[in-house]
């Protein structure tokens, strides 16, 4: 009888053990995928450096927002067709296209195509599930929020934090190679959309400058991929990017640094950046960059 009275007291303890058991289970599943990691790579960046470099890959929200702000018309044809998800049967392809679909999702949200996002959201869930990282996306909430265009900011917030947390987790679990591929997928898709949208001057110029600025990002991405270059799939990606780099080498970027000043505007402290960067990129270079990007991206989504 005495023991029965203790049961309610011991239940929370039991629950705690169960929770700990679940967490252990997740870790175990994750390590099952270690075969995807190229641990033997001879040029290996430290995990912290990989995380930092992934963080320096631009968020697709910024490019999509610029396109929308520049009056670029939405184009569904530019996106990776949703049905392609069935073709991705290796973790290499899944990771790359998880990034690609992630960018497409952001693009659709920025343009208020909330209903159309449901299919893409489901693709992101499936690919994340195949890679055993689905725990970073609250799909039920995202599905519900996607029903109204008033919730776009919340959808973007959940998607962004989900991708960030997933990336950190993959690196912690020794699967940094997948984090790098996802990040690369988001970037190349973003660049593909930017180089293929139809627009007119002066908006075209603004977009071209943004494309030219990707020169620095490209260098970082090549460095990241180089960490896993012993994997033939990665070395093929690097070869493709070296072709792209040859085109980006024709872009010049100059910087002029001037001390910033602080002003108080409407009670808010605003830092006025007096420094300037200037991007020089010709129409011919843009055309050749667009061609190489299309080849690379179509290979990824094929």
């Amino acid at each position: 009888m005495k023991k029965l009275k203790l049961i309610p007291l011991l239940l929370p303890l039991f629950a705690l053990f169960l929770t700990a058991g679940c967490q252990q289970g997740q870790r175990q599943e994750a390590t099952d995928l270690l075969s995807d990691s190229l641990i033997t790579a001879d040029v290996r960046l430290d995990d912290d450096v990989i995380g930092e470099m992934i963080s320096s890959v631009p968020n697709p929200v910024e490019m999509s927002a610029l396109l929308q702000k520049s009056g670029v018309v939405y184009s569904q044809e530019l996106l990776n067709p949703a049905d392609n998800v069935n073709n991705y049967n290796t973790n290499f392809k899944r990771a790359l296209n998880l990034g690609v679909y992630g960018t497409d999702l952001v693009y659709m949200n920025i343009y208020d195509r909330t209903i159309a996002t449901l299919r893409y959201l489901s693709n992101v869930r499936d690919l994340a599930s195949d890679l055993r990282v689905e725990q970073f996306f609250d799909y039920e909430t995202l599905n519900r929020l996607s029903e109204s265009s008033r919730n776009i900011d919340s959808v973007l917030f959940i998607t962004n934090t989900g991708f960030d947390n997933m990336s950190r987790y993959l690196i912690d679990q020794g699967r940094g190679n997948l984090a790098v591929l996802i990040s690369y997928g988001t970037w190349i898709e973003s660049l593909y959309i930017a180089t293929h949208v139809q627009t007119v001057p002066p908006n075209r110029e603004t977009i071209n400058i943004r494309i030219g600025e990707q020169k620095k990002v490209l260098d970082n991405i090549i460095l990241l991929l180089n960490t896993y270059r012993q994997d033939p799939n990665f070395s093929e990606l690097i070869e493709d990017l070296m072709r792209l780099k040859r085109e980006f080498d024709k872009v010049t970027i100059t910087y002029v640094y001037k001390e910033p000043t602080i002003e108080e505007i409407d009670g808010m402290v605003v830092l006025v950046d007096n420094s300037r960067s200037e991007v020089n990129i010709s129409d011919e270079v843009i055309t050749s960059i667009a061609e190489v990007v299309a080849e690379i991206r179509n290979k990824i989504i094929g």
Binding site: L9, N59, D164, K216, V269, S277
Partner: protein
């Protein structure tokens, strides 16, 4: 009976010790409300120990690209259960200090930094706590629509 009480005691201790960390982790949900007219881009959880005697100031840094022509709204939220008040400092690709969220001369913390960027590039965001106190916070970068 004594054995069970010890077990229950241990359970509560475990829950209490994890409380600080879990609240630190959920800070982003609270901080999300400060976005207003801005679009969320990036967040970093920051948890640092108290600076020990003779030790360098604990801090963490992250990199992120910022684009000319965009106004960024940068802010952080502190966990109330720890004493540290977070300070953000931002450096450009050339390692020039662009701004910190603590104005030394005025001894004033800026709750929000509005940063209309003139020079595109990869910037370094460093976070540390005032007077090297122990603290936990979340740093957020967003872009004004």
């Amino acid at each position: 009976m004594k054995k069970y009480l010890v077990l229950i005691g241990l359970l509560f201790l475990t829950l209490l010790s994890s409380k600080g960390f879990s609240q630190c982790g959920s800070l982003l949900d609270v901080c999300h409300g400060k976005l207003d007219n801005a679009r969320f881009l990036k967040s970093w959880p920051i948890q640092l120990p108290e600076q020990g005697k003779g030790e360098t100031l604990p801090q963490v840094s992250f990199k992120m690209p910022l684009t000319a022509g965009t106004t960024y709204k940068i802010f952080a939220c502190n966990a109330e259960e720890l004493p540290g008040k977070v300070i953000i400092s931002i450096r450009n690709h050339n390692d020039d200090l662009v701004i910190t969220s603590y104005l030394v001369e005025q001894q004033r913390h800026l709750p929000i930094i509005m940063f209309p960027v003139g020079m595109s590039g990869i910037y370094t965001f460093s976070f540390y706590f005032e007077d090297g106190q122990e603290g936990c916070a979340v740093g957020v970068v967003s872009s004004v629509k």
